[in-house]
Amino acid sequence: MRRTRLLGLLRKEFLQIIRDPSSIAIALVMPIVLLVLIGYGVSLDARGVTFGVVDESRSVESAGFFEAFATTPYFKPTDFVDSRQAEAALMRGDIMGFAVLRSNFSRELASPGHAVRIAIVVNGVDANNARIVSGYAQGAVAVWANGRRAERALVAPGAVTLENRYWFNPEIRSTNFIVPGLIALIMTMIGALLTALVVAREWERGTMEAMMVSPASMAEIIVGKLAAYFVLGMGSLAVSMGLAIFLFQVPFRGSPAALIGISAVFLVVALAMGLLISTVARNQFVAAQLAFLVTFMPALILSGLLFDIESTPVWVRAITFIFPARYYVSCLQTLFLAGTVHEILLPNVLILAVFAAVLLAAAIARTRRSLE
């Protein structure tokens, strides 16, 4: 490694990054767009769900029930007199579901020992969403029932009250775990996709060949390239962190040093993957396709970013182990929501480090031979 050569190569890479609008777009604009789009767009929470309350009894008690739905942030209740109207509204998609209070609602409430029946109907097309909505509706009903009991000081002796505590994400905001996961996606994009593209371009234009014949060693060429895109990747990490913490208000409970260290290791993994892809695909089109298939898609669907790995079938879970993004997503979610939990972070970082070493060695070996 010679300083002059390395600095020369680094300067070249940065000049190219600055002059090529597509690098800037991928490194800086893309993270912002991805975070804003997915961060706001893909929310797995029920919030402000339109919900009908069919009130056939028209009583003070039923009005109190309606209030219980109106006061939670999760529902926007609409009042219906007739269940047929509510059904029609559900059909049209105006409401996600409805509760039915029959005409004898207040009478049943008044007679002790008589169970009050409340029907809850939920649009079940999106099963996941339906479960969430029905859960929240039951919650709202429970809140209302507790309130009534407290009012009348009629707590039955020995009655069990369930108190849920959601650890690490007490508000159960899905943003809190999606946004950290997205950072893994962004780092994959910059590390793998951008690197694969720029190296493929060097092959296409014959500049790689020219560099290889110059006294610069393969190691210098690769280090120069990786260092530049490493800096770019860490830059977008900073941008993404800023957005996550200040725009999305995701709590960050871990240590910044751990975050930077782990991200650095993952970035090397992604860069090595990009380099490896560029040795297989020597033109930008194939490189982009491969990078999407081999790095971006797994990082999106098989990393635990959107879908919980633990709830997938065993064979799918087995596949996720070969994609490095999974380990990084797990670290990120831990660092953001739980803190610096060494028991989780250490094994994951070790695995990432092994990935980094193996992929980098393979990439260097292949680049050297890739003219053959």
Partner: protein
Amino acid sequence: MAPAAPPIVVVDAVTKRFGKGPQATIALDHVSAEIRPGQITGLVGPDGAGKTTLLRLIAGLLKPNEGKITVLGQDSVTAVTTVQHDIGYMPQRFGLYEDLTVAENLDLYADMHELDGTVRQERFASLLAFTALTPFVERLAGKLSGGMKQKLGLACALLSRPKLLLLDEPSAGVDPASRRELWRIVRTMAGEGVAVIWSTAYLDEAERCDSFLLFANGRLLASGSPTDFSRRVDGRTFLITVPPGHKHRVQRRAAADPAIADAIIQGERIRIVLNDGATLPDAAVLGGTGLPQPVRPRFEDAFVSLLHGRTAPRSSPAVPEESTSTAVTDGAAIEAHDLTRDFGAFRAVDNVTFTVAPGEVFGLLGPNGAGKSTTFRMLCGLLEPSAGSARVAGVDLGTARAAARERIGYMSQRFSLYGELSVRDNLDFFSGVYGLSSTRRRQRIDWALESFELGPVARQTSGSLPLGFKQRLALSCALLHEPRVLFLDEPTSGVDPLMRREFWARIGALAEQRVTVLVTSHFMDEAEYCDRLAIVYGGRMIAMGSPDDLKRRFVSDTLPDPTLEDAFVALIETQGTKAAP
């Protein structure tokens, strides 16, 4: 030039294979050669001959499977780093970073060679002056003209004062004036003792080298001094004068004559090369007039005569017997009137006007970026002109583009075949695209398979075929709907001379049936086959006439027998710098 100087590169029985097992392709087959300092050695051969592979082996980018290469006394594999210190290498497309400026590119290469302060500044100054790039140091390399890119690439390769300079097709696609300047620069370097290896598909460049290595299909066919090589056919090369309008027929007869190894159209005459020991046939028998005039042999004459001796002589291609000939259109087949095309502020084509008569072979000749392709696309109806009008086969492209397209056949440089489909599937597909009825489709496909000799390979995937077959298939696809006008985009760049002859024989036969042919080329040799030429430069047409006309304009005492390239360079010079991009 000291003939006793020890070789700087020794290539010893080198074989290079790509891939493994039975599918392996042999890129170089037991090649041995020596490269001497102070000389320009030409690596000559068509595309796929093994030129680039040999350069990469010498540069240490590839390892030979067998044999060994010694560069400057060191092994190219084990001492690769030491070797690379003394090598200047310019890959195809010059190896420049297009989004860096001229100065930044030079700086990068200087950094790679660890040139410091004063040495660096001195070399920059001298190389920039040498290549006349000083005024452009702040310009992005991507925004330079082809000739300037080539010079910058060369300057970068020369920064380290290499003892060995490897140039991979440095002159491909650049204008003749830039090509000459490049030769001047490289000649100077050789004069200072540098060993230069210059790879090229242009046979006329081989003549300018001090020595050459001629490759075909990975084998070294011949080597030595080009003068000695040409001398092999001394006294066997002649020009036959032909009555107007008979050149294709005479050429065909001559090519079929057993005494003649090679017969090509050169302007309005036919150039022939006799077989060794054969007697000169009577020109009148061939259809010529007067006595054949002996001419100085060229490199290409010797090359073709050599190939002719090795391969069984091909029967000249069957002339497609078609009714196309009777469809004589009145007036011009192609009319371009004040064609202009702007891309933003850049005027790619500027007021181009010409007409082509039915059955004429018309060439648009010019370097890359001169506006040939843009003109071409406007005439095919692929691009709307910014101003002016065009008529093809009697149809106005502005108003009846679809009708015009039915009468146009188009063959692009890259052949536009579907590589995954078989030969027959390609023919079937293209006949479908042209909307042929099922009976006519069958007839035309049979015609294509037969007259282009594609029958034996009809079931093979077209991507796996040798270049010559691909070219025939592409041409037959373009002719399926019996077009009146045929557009050819750089049809024979990079193919070997025999294939080029075969191709042009077919084109000649078509022209005799009054099919009009428009060819673009940056290849001077290709231009000789045309009846008339328009020379395009900087978006404008700077001259038009028959090849002989154009050459005749520049006959002088110093140049009694100018080539088309001489004419081209002289034309550009008289245009001055205003046309330069």
